[in-house]
Symmetry: C2
DNA sequence: CGATCGTTTGATCCGCATCAAGATAGGTGG
DNA sequence: CCACCTATCTTGATGCGGATCAAACGATCG
C-alpha cells in the first residue's frame, strides 16, 4: 500500500513548475495544490489497477511510474513510462466508463501527489487548458508510436527511443546511463528482450553506441 | 479547393447532436455554431496539409475524411478515418508547433463546417470539457491500436476493426457493406493490401465472413 | 471492346518471436 | 576474499507472419 507522508516538506518552486499548473493565477494554483496529499511508494507498488474506478489521480514528484495494460489474451503491455512533473491517471477522469484503462506501478521508489476526482472538478476551469494541451500532445505521440510499430524496424525504434530519451531528460549525448532496465525498455517498445539486445548491437548503423547501461549518441539526424 | 456553400440549409437538430456541443447552453451553442461556415469538398480534396499552420478546424456534416501522415522516409500512413459529427484538425489547435501533424482528405464527397481558430478560442470555456473527453478517448484508442500492432495478427486486427465498424456505424451484423474500399482499410490497419486480402479469407476463424464488400458477423466475442 | 482501377493469388524473402543455453553483474553469507 | 545465487542480459538455432515482387482476375467506364 502507498504510504501517506504527513510531514513531507516539498519544494514550492518545483511544484509551481508542473506543466499542469502552467499559467495559473497564484490563488488558483494554491487552491489546487492545497488539495494534494503526498504519498510514497516502493518499487513495484501499484498506484491503481486497471478497471478500478477513478477516484484519484497523481502528479509525480520524484521517481518514475510504469503504466501497463492487460490484454484479454492475458499479455501485459507497457503503455507508457512517466517521470517527475508528469500526471498519471488523468485520462481516466474523462472516460465515460469512469475506470482506469491501465494499471500504474512504481518503477523504483516514487513520491507522488494525490488528488481526488473532486479537487479536479473544483479546479476544472483553471486546469482544462493545460490538460487539453497535454492530451493533444499525447494523442500525437501515441499516433506516432502506432505508426512506428508498422513502418520501422526494431533497430530504428530503439534508436528513436534513445534519442528522445536523451532530449527529454536533458542527458549528455556524449555518454549517459539508461535510467531504466533494458527489459522495461523492451516492453515499452513492444519487442522482446532478445530483440532489443540484438538491436543494441546494430545501433551503430544509426550513429549510436550502447555498452551495458552506457549510451553514446554520435549523430542526431533530423527525424525524431 | 473546397467550395463555400453560401445557401446551404443544414438541419439544426443534427448540429445540436454534435458531441463537441453536448451539454452546452443554447446561447453558447448558437454563438459557436453561428461562427461556422459550410464547405463541400470532392473526393481526394484536401482540407489541410501536414505542416500547415492551424487556422481552421472542422466538424464533418456528411461524408468521411481520411487523416494521413507522411513519414520522414516518405511513406504515407493513414492515421484515422473520421465521419459525420466528428471533429477534424482539433488536436493541432493545442500543439505548441501550431501546425497540423497530418493531412486531411475527403474519402468521398464531404460537407464540413469550418471554424476559425479564433471562434474556438472565443468558445473555449464552453467547449473544453467536450474536447477533453474526446481527446481522452482518442488517447486510449490510439494506445489500443499501438498495442494491437504488436500483439495481434493481421486476421485478428481485421476482425477487430470490422466488429468496431459494425457497432460504431450501427450496421446490421447479419450482413452489411463496407463503407470504404479495402485498400483504404489496409492503410488504416497498417498492413499491405495483399495481407488484408489474405486475412479476409481467414476471417471465419473469428466468426466473420466477407465476400467482396459484403460482411457477416456471426459471433461477437467479448474482446473489443 | 480495350483500358484502367481495385482486388486476389502465388512465390519468395526478411524480421522478429520463440525456445534454449550461456554470460555477466550484484548481492549474500561463509 | 571467494563461493554461491539470482536477476538481468546476451547469443544461437529455428519457425512463422507479413512485406515484397509479380501476375492474373474482375468490375466499371468511356
Amino acid at each position: 500500500m502507498l504510504q501517506r507522508l504527513l510531514f513531507y516538506t516539498p519544494c514550492p518552486d518545483f511544484i509551481a513548475g508542473f506543466p499542469l499548473l502552467a499559467g495559473l493565477q497564484e490563488h488558483e494554483r494554491d487552491a489546487f495544490v492545497g488539495e494534494g496529499r503526498f504519498f510514497s511508494g516502493h518499487k513495484k507498488e501499484l498506484l491503481f489497477r486497471q478497471g478500478d474506478p477513478v477516484k484519484y489521480f497523481y502528479i509525480i514528484y520524484a521517481g518514475s511510474v510504469r503504466l501497463f495494460h492487460l490484454t484479454p489474451e492475458g499479455c501485459e503491455v507497457t503503455t507508457d513510462i512517466r517521470t517527475k512533473r508528469d500526471t498519471v491517471g488523468t485520462s481516466g477522469l474523462l472516460e465515460p466508463t469512469g475506470t482506469h484503462h491501465s494499471s500504474a506501478e512504481a518503477v523504483d521508489d516514487v513520491v507522488v501527489m494525490e488528488f481526488s476526482r473532486e479537487s479536479f472538478e473544483k479546479s476544472l476551469r483553471a486546469l482544462s487548458f493545460n490538460l487539453l494541451t497535454e492530451f493533444a500532445q499525447r494523442v500525437n505521440v501515441k499516433q506516432m508510436e502506432a505508426e512506428q510499430r508498422s513502418v520501422m524496424t526494431a533497430v530504428q525504434r530503439l534508436a528513436c527511443f534513445l534519442r528522445r530519451l536523451c532530449v527529454a531528460n536533458d542527458l549528455n549525448p556524449q555518454g549517459f546511463d539508461l535510467p531504466y532496465s533494458k527489459s522495461l525498455m523492451a516492453t515499452r517498445l513492444g519487442m522482446q528482450m532478445e530483440t532489443l539486445s540484438r538491436a543494441g548491437a546494430r545501433l551503430k548503423e544509426q550513429g549510436i553506441s550502447m555498452k551495458g547501461k552506457r549510451v553514446w549518441i554520435d549523430a542526431v539526424p533530423a527525424n525524431a
